[in-house]
């Protein structure tokens, strides 16, 4: 009953704590993820949702593979959309990308930073004025709240121009240098720096934007800015299949866990599953009681030996050998009196002979012991060696092995 009371009390406390935690206003999570499942301000859930309406295919699939893998290994025939903080491309990726575009596909890449390999080949440069400190949420919130805005001019393919107003944070990156003839600028900040490029390669187009943030939930859902994202997305032909590549901001999802690598081998998979199941079963079944609980009752201790040891140590610290020797002699004499009915007031020659005869101990040993006893009784001080010698002789006399 008592235990139950505690249990109820404990559960109540936990419940109160959980409710309290749920009630507490959560601080806004300003992490920049560009992830299509994240509903936080800088996730791209809204964009992904938007894609559904913009394209005929409906749901746009997400892929966690590199462009190289998609193009060379899986021979995907879709247009690509990729939104990331910065693109880190290797040669394979880059070559596959260009090949894909040349074949007549449209690719849209949005990032604040492009790898040098990329920039060198297409002969442009992207420059990031101010990098976001991803952990400093208050700074981000403050910047967004500030009045400083930048206008972005967007030349639509149909010849019209539209202007959008963004917080400066969004337009921190721009293309500082564009040297290639096959690149056309499509959108500019108010100071004329381009933020959207179109590269014409072969039969297809490659769009590069320095404003990935424009695709995040915060700006897509914001009335003033949402049109910019959809305008940029409308550059992708709506009747062709599109694929959202998440690899460049997320990495390969499945490659992250090491256990997954092990699990890809059937034999190891068996081993691991059997091992885990056995451990689980072991915990479940071996923790069951085999008999009732036996409460611990400390046994009553016989403290005599402890007492004797403590006293022995105390006397030992005093090092009064003579005193101790006398105690031992008293005991010995009593032993002699009660076992051999001999008088012990005089330890003379007759006594020694009689004791030898009665005890059956070797004559020399009895004589040595009695003489030692006499010597100890006569002296005021005795040596440690004599005490040890007496122990040895007495053991022989008593027959202690």
């Amino acid at each position: 009953m008592k235990d139950k009371k505690y249990l109820i009390f404990f559960i109540a406390i936990i419940t109160i704590y959980v409710v309290y935690e749920m009630q507490k206003p959560k601080p806004e999570d300003w992490t920049v993820t560009y992830h299509y499942r994240d509903r936080i301000p800088f996730g791209t859930f809204a964009t992904h949702d938007l894609l559904k309406d913009l394209f005929e295919q409906g749901d746009v699939p997400s892929s966690f593979k590199t462009i190289y893998e998609l193009v060379e290994q899986e021979e995907v025939d879709d247009n690509f959309l990729a939104i990331a903080g910065n693109f880190i491309f290797d040669d394979n990726d880059f070559n596959s990308l260009l090949k894909h575009v040349e074949k007549g596909h449209t690719v849209f890449l949005a990032a604040q930073d492009f790898s040098t390999r990329f920039e060198d080949s297409l002969r442009f440069e992207a420059y990031l004025e101010q990098r976001l400190n991803p952990s400093d949420f208050t700074q981000i919130a403050n910047e967004l709240a500030e009045e400083t805005k930048t206008r972005v001019r967007f030349a639509l393919p149909n010849g019209n121009e539209e202007t959008f107003v963004f917080p400066t944070l969004t337009t921190a990156a721009y293309f500082s240098k564009v040297e290639s003839d096959s690149i056309t600028e499509m959108a500019w900040r108010e100071d004329g720096k381009p933020v959207l490029l179109k590269y014409n390669g072969g039969q297809g187009n490659l769009y590069l934007s320095t404003m990935p943030l424009a695709f995040t939930n915060y700006f897509v859902l914001h009335e003033e800015t949402s049109a910019f994202a959809s305008s940029m997305l409308s550059l992708l032909p709506e009747d062709e299949p599109l694929m959202h590549i998440e690899y460049y901001q997320m990495g390969k999802l499945e490659s992250r866990s090491e256990i997954r690598a092990l699990l890809s081998y059937p034999a190891l998979k068996w081993a691991i599953f059997i091992l885990l199941a056995t451990v689980f079963i072991f915990i479940l079944f071996e923790s069951k009681r085999r008999q009732r609980i036996i409460a611990v009752i400390p046994p009553v201790k016989n403290a005599t030996l402890e007492f004797v040891n403590t006293l022995g140590q105390l006397y030992h610290q005093q090092k009064n050998h003579k005193n101790l020797a006398q105690k031992r002699i008293l005991f010995w004499k009593d032993y002699v009196r009660s076992h051999y009915t001999l008088r012990t007031d005089k330890l003379d020659e007759a006594f020694k002979l009689e004791l030898t005869r009665k005890s059956g101990v070797e004559k020399a040993k009895v004589f040595a012991l009695v003489e030692l006893v006499e010597r100890i009784e006569a002296n005021d001080m005795i040596e440690e060696g004599e005490l040890l010698m007496m122990e040895k002789l007495m053991n022989e006399f008593y027959g202690i092995v």
């Binding site: 081998y265 059937p266 034999a267 190891l268 068996w270 081993a271 059997i274 091992l275 199941a277 056995t278 079963i281 072991f282 079944f285 071996e286 069951k288 085999r290 008999q291 009732r292 036996i294 409460a295 611990v296 009752i297 046994p299 009553v300 201790k301 016989n302 403290a303 005599t304 030996l305 004797v308 040891n309 006293l311 022995g312 140590q313 006397y315 030992h316 101790l324 020797a325 105690k327 031992r328 008293l330 005991f331 009593d334 009660s338 440690e384 005490l387 040890l388 122990e391 053991n395 008593y398 202690i400 092995v401």
Partner: protein, 443 residues
């Protein structure tokens, strides 16, 4: 639910699982082994199901019963029997965990049995309680497994039972039989030559060396042409009181049993013998004051009364007060009696404090002071010391042992009889003293 509760797994199960894991790991390198391992895995699964079915086919295939006496005897081995009967159709192995009373503190008791179909087996074991009181036995847990030995099924059998641990009635019966058949010599009880005499004639018997030659019946000797002697009857209806000190000094345990319980056991033995010899037995217990007085009597009921009285004794192990004892005896025991006082003194000075009261008691009664040799100290004395500190410790131990002798001498100097005995030999030594005093006619 019951099925799950009674379902246990054996070590073999885990061994097989471990082996399979190992095989699969080898199979990672050698694919052929993996194929074998997979087959073995399914085989093991089949065996697991089969084993479970074998064990759970019948509803109540095992019965067990614990057989033991209602009362246990304190300080003795008490036997217990468990009878197991089963209806399995194949040979089964059974692990039995009997739920023992908590006082024994035994946690590792386990019996392993093999039963053929239809076989009945007994488990016999014994327990030695060292405290009086109620002991609670629980149920019998039996774990059954077959030759496959993958699954164990638990059975909870038998009934919980409470037994009372009484002062050692086993010893009582043992010494009673010996006393009746005059075989007390066997367990180290020495024959006491009759020194005293009594005028109540009993019989004429053959002279044996050591008999008092003044009592030779010359006429009878002449008739039989061998020496005959008159034998006189023992005095009867004398009072024998067992006085038990329940104070602080009696708490010390030897072989797990406190001195108090040794004293209680010895009191029961001596009371029984006194009653058998036609004397009256009584009981007094005290610590800081006198707790109970059972007047001496030789009625039929008396032994049972003494037993119940001794069973109920409780104590707080306070400092014993001998003046209270003296007052109580003076007031309640008016007839000259044999007083067997079970107590313990450690030093002469502690005796000196009580000596006055003991002498006073001895004036009116015949007092026998019974106290205990410390066998642990004795053991220490009889071992070699290997260091100077060891020599010192041994010296102190010898002093303690010597002190006991001094106590004995001090008491004897005041005409008080003493018994200095190791706890184990208490009963025997007390009986000897009783018989000696009786034959000397000192009461």
């Amino acid at each position: 639910m019951n099925y799950i509760k009674s379902f246990y797994l054996t070590n073999r199960f885990f061994a097989v699982a471990g082996a399979l894991v190992f095989l699969f790991m080898v199979g990672f390198a050698v694919p052929a082994v993996a194929a074998i391992a997979e087959t073995l895995f399914y085989l093991a699964l089949v065996l697991l199901v089969l084993d479970t079915l074998l064990l759970y086919k019948q509803k109540r295939p095992l019965v067990a019963e614990r057989i033991m006496t209602e009362k246990f005897s304190n300080g003795d081995e008490n036997s217990i029997q468990i009878i197991l009967e089963h209806r399995f159709q194949q040979q089964v192995f059974i692990q039995v965990f009997d739920e023992l009373p908590v006082q024994f503190q035994i946690r590792n008791q386990q019996f392993n049995l093999t039963l053929k179909p239809g076989e009945v087996k007994n488990i016999n074991y014994s327990l030695r309680p060292v405290k009086r009181g109620e002991y609670e036995f629980g149920i019998i847990n039996a774990f059954v497994f077959t030759k496959l030995g993958i699954v164990k099924r638990r059975f909870q059998l038998g009934q919980p039972k409470v037994v009372s641990v009484y002062p050692s009635f086993i010893q009582m019966r043992k010494y009673e039989l010996l006393a009746i058949s005059n075989q007390l010599q066997q367990s180290g009880i020495k024959k006491i030559r009759r020194i005293g005499n009594n005028m109540e004639f009993e019989q004429i018997k053959n002279y044996v060396a050591g008999d008092d030659y003044r009592k030779i019946n010359w006429k009878a000797s002449a008739r039989r042409s061998e020496l005959m002697i008159n034998q006189f009857q023992d005095e009867r209806s004398q009072q024998v009181y067992s006085v038990i000190d329940k104070g602080r000094m009696m708490q010390m345990p030897f072989e797990g049993m406190s001195l108090l319980d040794y004293a209680i056991n010895a009191s029961l033995v001596i009371s029984n013998i006194a009653l058998k010899k036609g004397d009256k037995a009584g009981l007094v217990t005290f610590q800081h004051k006198v707790n109970s007085v059972l007047p001496a009597s030789s009625r039929n009921m008396q032994l049972n009364l003494i037993l119940e009285h001794l069973y109920k004794q409780k104590t707080a192990y306070k400092e014993s007060d001998f003046s209270q004892l003296y007052i109580s005896l003076k007031r309640k025991v008016t007839q000259r009696s044999l007083i067997l006082l079970y107590t313990n003194f450690v030093s002469v000075s502690s005796l000196q404090r009580q000596l006055l009261y003991l002498r006073k008691i001895n004036q009116q009664h015949l007092l026998v002071c019974i106290f205990f040799e410390n066998t642990e100290v004795k053991e220490l004395i009889e071992t070699k010391a290997d260091s100077l500190e060891g020599v010192y410790t041994k010296g102190i131990a010898e002093q303690l042992a010597y002190e006991k002798k001094l106590i004995m001498k001090e008491l004897q100097a005041h005409g008080i009889h003493t018994i200095l005995t190791p706890p184990k030999e208490l009963s025997v030594n007390t009986i000897n003293k009783y018989l000696e005093l009786k034959s000397r006619g000192l009461i």
